[in-house]
Point group: C2
Chain length 342, copies 2
Amino acid sequence: MVPLGGANQPLLHGGDLAAARRLFPDAPEPFLDLSTGINPNPYPLPVLPAEIFARLPDSAALEQLAAVAAAAYGAPSAGYVVPAPGTQILLPLVCGLIPPGRAAILTPTYSEHAPAAVLAGHAVAELRDIAAVGNADLVLVTNPNNPDGRLLAKADLLALARTLKARGGLLAVDEAFMDVAPPGASLASEVARGNIVVLRSFGKFFGLAGIRLGFALATPPLAARLAALLGPWAVSAPALAVGTKALADGDWIENSRRALADAAARLDTILCKAGLHVVGGTPLFRLAQTHAAGELFHHLGRAGIFSRRFPQQPTWLRFGLPAGEPQWQRLQMAMAEFRDSR
Amino acid sequence: MVPLGGANQPLLHGGDLAAARRLFPDAPEPFLDLSTGINPNPYPLPVLPAEIFARLPDSAALEQLAAVAAAAYGAPSAGYVVPAPGTQILLPLVCGLIPPGRAAILTPTYSEHAPAAVLAGHAVAELRDIAAVGNADLVLVTNPNNPDGRLLAKADLLALARTLKARGGLLAVDEAFMDVAPPGASLASEVARGNIVVLRSFGKFFGLAGIRLGFALATPPLAARLAALLGPWAVSAPALAVGTKALADGDWIENSRRALADAAARLDTILCKAGLHVVGGTPLFRLAQTHAAGELFHHLGRAGIFSRRFPQQPTWLRFGLPAGEPQWQRLQMAMAEFRDSR
């Protein structure tokens, strides 16, 4: 197995408390993990009967999940939905929907996109501007983007998809954080155009990243190719049960969107008071800039608060949301200490 | 999404109670599902704290699972183990470890092997005899085999692996039911030879198929390629927790092996008394032959007992194990009724 997050590896991802403990062995436990963009107030787990774990996931339950996901995300129908054990595993499969060619990735972004395109045989170019995709066959964008929250206009993406279509190219849009973006920004309703694949994460917005559930939205022929690669039981039965219930819970979804927006505003205030510049983000995470990012990362880490840094952007720190008043107080106190120490 | 088990599709797999209900809409519920080879007495689920579902699966927990699995299966070390959300999803990835060429599959066997080899670009030949693999680049065998239980000798498989190695070929051994096979039959301890990949299922022997957990055992370079395709969080956190506990529970494993062997013997007696010939199987399922297989399948189905038939082998029926005395009695009574009706 590939050793992930070993002591000498750079931290490619948030959420790895084993890595946090290696970095800050003397930090007080429990760690306050702000290194991810996962909703800290998860969807309440329904009772999961033991039989759910025992039996193979049911094909009828899978169909039902696809239908509920289509409605929740605004895809045309269940036939456009491929449930998967998280979107990560879908990345190389989606990149492989077209023959190896030139892939353009809008950066900085989620670190697994470029490797996935390479695994699918593409030559990868990293770009800063969607207008610069040139003659790429595959364009892979995160919208809204992680970590800076940049939101690409739907009209621009649709124009890009048209250009790509003329040469048999594919537009893949990772909408991992679209649940908390402005309404109408998703391309889920546009996948019938034929060369657009949208990825949707379940675990981030619903705060259940451990359960592993994500979706590809695409035309039925592309969806069938992805489903064949995943095979018949890719999604666990607990994920089927929880996902079907949560994606149909409009009240929880609406309330959580509001609560996350409020929490993000509160986090911005804390970051600003500590002298950081909030330069982007989504309601699930905030990106802050400071020349003291390295010191602050270590200060917080020693206090048992794990934030996210970016080796390529040494002045950036990304913060997820605390859950509950004690966690907010802990962050506020640590940030105030840092400010006062300088 | 590919519609799985739709009303007009042949039943490719066991365990699909939605399909059973379409076939036998008037059957008494609950169905007694004997259509799979899954242990009906599952490993007792540990308490799964809500936090397990909320957080991303931890890299340290993944390492620990790999180490426990290596010890349980007899692989050289954790570096030879790739945990995955079931072995199904690994099949096309394992077939893709060598360039597209000629794949030989020993049949009849699990119906997903040939499609997986095709997905990886191979031309597939189905063979009845391991001696007939000819100039295949990839040989894919199930050992012990499903549904007939045929066990290939380790020496023969190792000789085949040597032959394949000389031409850069790969031997993939699906050991989905090896947990209940005679000791020493597994090739898990031989994967260091370099061109052997062993697949191990967690859900069948431990009776937790809904959780989706399986393993590829292979040399570290091959394991790293598979792990990269799966990405960092392919296995759900509940599966990590349950798998790590169960695979280390030697007492449960030992007791279950004995109990399954006893149950298989009891099932054989019932099948024989009803006039069926038991022609193969493993302790997790029995393969019976009778010219009345079609009638018996429907008789049992109408009584709410779902067995497994095989479109290509119309005289075969496969039976999984009942759990608990009421289920045994229900099967016994339905089989006696069938015998008396003829």
